[in-house]
């Protein structure tokens, strides 16, 4: 066991730091075009698609190097790359299960954010029970006709393509009749309606498909292999490295400490209140444990190990921590924490949702993490069954299957 960075890692970190110092935009990126331009710059510097193989347009870098880039970007509050779902999860799924044609057609444009991707999995009546999804894709030989509704689709309004789960065999048991297709979002049969979240913003949307068309060449894997393929995507999504996220938490913590020194309650600065100190200590201890755990996962990835079902532990850990963090932060800040417009520097933080905001916004956002990408309850089922080997529960749908 040795957590000392290698000289190569240190040199790489310095190189990234210098590059970011010279290139991070001085102004907030407002339009999609500005964000795409910044993304393109990051890609050309080798900081997007780092883990992808070189022959597919990636950089063949190590998980350690990727973590260094995420960490350094968080430190200087650099605007994130876009197309995260595509590059992090959908692209890797195409790399594992896609045809050569699909790889040639889609991957490079995904990396450069020339085409933005979204994920069409959840439905109004298929949330945790994703396999009960109802959207249908009828096989017409050279293409499929898609009808149905998806929900909680991030980047829906800006997406050019979506990875879709749809039922192709209604008679088969529910896990066995689903296929995975790539769907062109820019067609008349696809309608995207933004959904407003409890934060007031609209990062999700509903997607309605009415006789939409998906070409047969855009079928990923075999017909009715979709459930298995979806597990790959979700595995990538849950197992991704959390170190950049922890760095953002730590930066927010420093702002919280600053606020606790400047704001007063009960006739003294917050920081002098032992109850506040106990809460700050609790947040920081947990935050550090998230960092250590992130290093442990990174070290396993770097050895070429795949975390598999254990990635559910990581996801459960940081999303539940995030809720406790912002709950404690708002207890500390009292009414100050409820402000939705920031007047002081310490009142606005990176909410790790992709949009900056106040502590109130971050607090609200923290309710999302334990729901998306498989709720905490689903993660605990996975951990119980696949990591601890506990017996499967008797479920009505399994009895039928």
């Amino acid at each position: 066991m040795d957590l000392t960075p290698t000289p190569e890692d240190l040199a790489f970190r310095n190189q990234v730091r210098r590059w970011l110092g010279a290139n991070v935009p001085a102004h907030e990126l407002k339009t999609l075009d500005e964000r795409k331009a910044w993304h393109r710059k990051l890609y050309e510097a080798g900081y997007v698609g780092m883990l992808w193989p070189r022959e597919l347009g990636g950089w063949g870098a190590s998980p350690m190097q990727q973590a260094i880039v995420q960490d350094e970007m968080a430190r200087v509050d650099a605007p994130p790359a876009i197309n995260g779902l595509g590059i992090g999860f959908i692209g890797p799924t195409i790399i594992v299960h896609g045809t050569d044609w699909q790889k040639q057609r889609y991957l490079k444009k995904m990396l450069t954010a020339e085409e933005i991707w979204c994920q069409l999995y959840s439905e109004p009546n298929a949330g945790s029970d994703l396999a009960s999804l109802k959207t249908r894709a009828e096989d017409q030989g050279d293409h499929f006709v898609v009808n149905g509704q998806k929900i909680w689709t991030s980047s829906g309004p800006i997406a050019d393509w979506g990875i879709l789960l749809a039922r192709t065999d209604p008679k088969a048991p529910k896990h066995k009749g689903i296929s995975c297709l790539l769907l062109n979002m820019r067609q008349p049969g696809v309608e995207v309606r933004p959904l407003r979240q409890i934060t007031g913003s609209s990062l999700f949307s509903e997607v309605f498909m009415t006789n939409a068309r998906a070409d047969r060449r855009d079928l990923i894997g075999r017909l009715n292999q979709g459930w298995e393929i979806a597990q790959t995507t979700l595995g990538f999504e849950r197992g991704s490295n959390s170190l950049g996220r922890v760095t953002r938490y730590a930066i927010a913590f420093n702002q919280l400490v600053r606020a606790a020194k400047e704001l007063r309650r009960d006739g003294r600065p917050l920081i002098e209140d032992p109850r506040v100190r106990a809460k700050l200590g609790k947040i920081y201890a947990e935050l550090e444990v998230q960092r250590y755990a992130g290093l442990r996962v990174l070290s396993a990835l770097n050895r070429g190990e795949s975390p598999g079902a254990a990635s559910s532990i990581t996801k459960l850990s940081y999303t539940e921590f995030e809720k406790r963090y912002y709950e404690l932060a708002l207890e500390i800040l009292g009414p100050w924490g409820q402000l939705v417009t920031a007047r002081e520097e310490f009142e606005e933080i990176d909410t790790s949702s992709g949009e900056p905001g106040t502590w109130a916004t971050a607090f609200l956002w923290s309710r999302a993490g334990t729901i998306y990408s498989g709720s905490s309850e689903i993660q605990k089922n996975i951990i119980g069954e696949r990591v601890l080997g506990l017996p499967k529960e008797v479920r009505a749908d399994r009895l039928k299957a």
Binding site: E288, V289, Y292, P391
Partner: protein
């Protein structure tokens, strides 16, 4: 960067597990609970022969020159077996003697500790139970030859079997550490029975206890930093033991949930039980990360080496208590019986929670560092 154990470290862990599975069964632990000394002298000698007692001592003194990571590996296994005995206090005292002792002091104690011929402990807490070295109340007065010590040290682990006590006391020069013979005049030992039968805590009363001039460990008045450093090691060591106890309880709970049937099914198939087990695993794995990160940080003298032990003690103290408690809950009534072994580990974790600073104490240390 590698968080995994090296093959040597894994070997140490495996051999410790195998040895303790054979020699420290729950039945043996129960016998020692009822033993007046509370520890096994045979086991202690064997631990010396295995190299465990000198693990982190220099080779010149019969040690192996290994670090806190290896010590934590052993302590985790000892926590897993709820081994009774003064391993952690002895290792801490040995570290202090090695770091600050004179040649004479090192010769006198280190080899004897490494072979299992001597035990030692740190008599740290005064009557008002403050883990800050600067709050020490015991006093030492200079005499024509040597010193006399006065004060009351509370909850001193294993003082009744120790061959030497490390006693911090105030002197006109400042905080000073003394090596004290537990048989010295004016020194009384009063062992107390505690909830965990594998833990022995002793009240040490010093009433004008004479100690020789060469009994000062390190420079007079300079003991503060040494004590703070020992407490950090103690915190990581205790966290490692708690981790072992928690992992044992988790394993027992999961094993039980697979075979115990109610309503015609194994209880582990119910989400109420399965989710509890998943939460326990999460806390055990995070505790592993916290313990070994902190141990590595101490060995590597990392920039957060003074912070990480507090993080580990604060986190693992809470986590181990919850995990061991939930293991009882998963078992139901059987887990609450004296005959079932869960309480050996539950009580061990609870006893360690208060040692070397509890979670509240370490959270305050963290805030002093990060919000100064």
């Amino acid at each position: 960067m590698n968080f995994a154990f090296s093959s040597d470290q894994q070997l140490l862990k495996n051999s410790a597990r195998a040895f303790l599975d054979e020699h420290m069964t729950p039945a043996t632990v129960r016998l020692l609970w009822d033993d007046p000394r509370g520890e096994s002298e045979t086991l202690w000698k064997e631990m010396g022969e295995l190299g465990w007692l000198g693990l982190s001592l220099p080779e010149a003194h019969g040690g192996s020159g290994l670090g806190m990571v290896e010590t934590a590996i052993l302590l985790e296994e000892m926590g897993r077996a709820a081994v009774p005995g003064p391993y952690l206090p002895t290792v801490l005292a040995a570290r202090a003697i090695e770091e600050s002792g004179t040649d004479g002091q090192r010769k006198r104690w280190l080899s004897a500790i490494a072979t299992g011929d001597a035990r030692a402990t740190l008599a740290f807490l005064d009557a008002d139970l403050d883990w800050r070295p600067e709050a020490t109340q015991a006093r030492a007065e200079k005499r024509a030859t040597g010193w006399t010590l006065s004060g009351t040290k509370r909850f001193v682990p294993w003082a009744h079997v120790a061959d030497v006590l490390l006693v911090p006391a105030r002197t006109p020069d400042g905080l000073t550490l003394f090596l004290v013979d537990p048989g010295a005049a004016g020194l009384t030992l009063e062992p107390a029975q505690v909830m965990d039968g594998a833990t022995r805590l002793v009240t040490v009363t010093l009433e004008g206890t004479p100690v020789a001039g060469d009994a000062v460990l390190g420079a007079p008045g300079q003991a503060g930093p040494l004590l703070a450093s020992l407490l950090r090691r103690g915190a990581v060591g205790a966290a490692a033991e708690m981790l072992g106890a928690a992992r044992r309880c988790l394993d027992m709970a999961v094993g039980y949930a697979k075979v115990r049937e109610q309503f015609g099914q194994p209880i582990g198939s119910f989400q109420a039980i399965r989710h509890k087990c998943a939460e326990m695993l999460l806390e055990v794995e995070n505790s592993h990360s916290a313990v070994y990160y902190a141990a590595w940080a101490l060995d590597a003298k990392a920039e957060d080496a003074e912070l990480a032990p507090s993080v580990a003690k604060a986190y693992v103290g809470d986590a181990a208590r919850r995990v061991c408690g939930e293991a009882i809950q998963v078992h139901g009534g059987i887990g609450f019986t004296w005959e079932y072994d869960l309480h050996l580990y539950f009580k061990r974790a609870k006893a360690l929670e208060a040692m070397y600073g509890d979670a509240d104490h370490h959270r305050e240390l963290i805030v002093r560092r990060v919000a100064a």
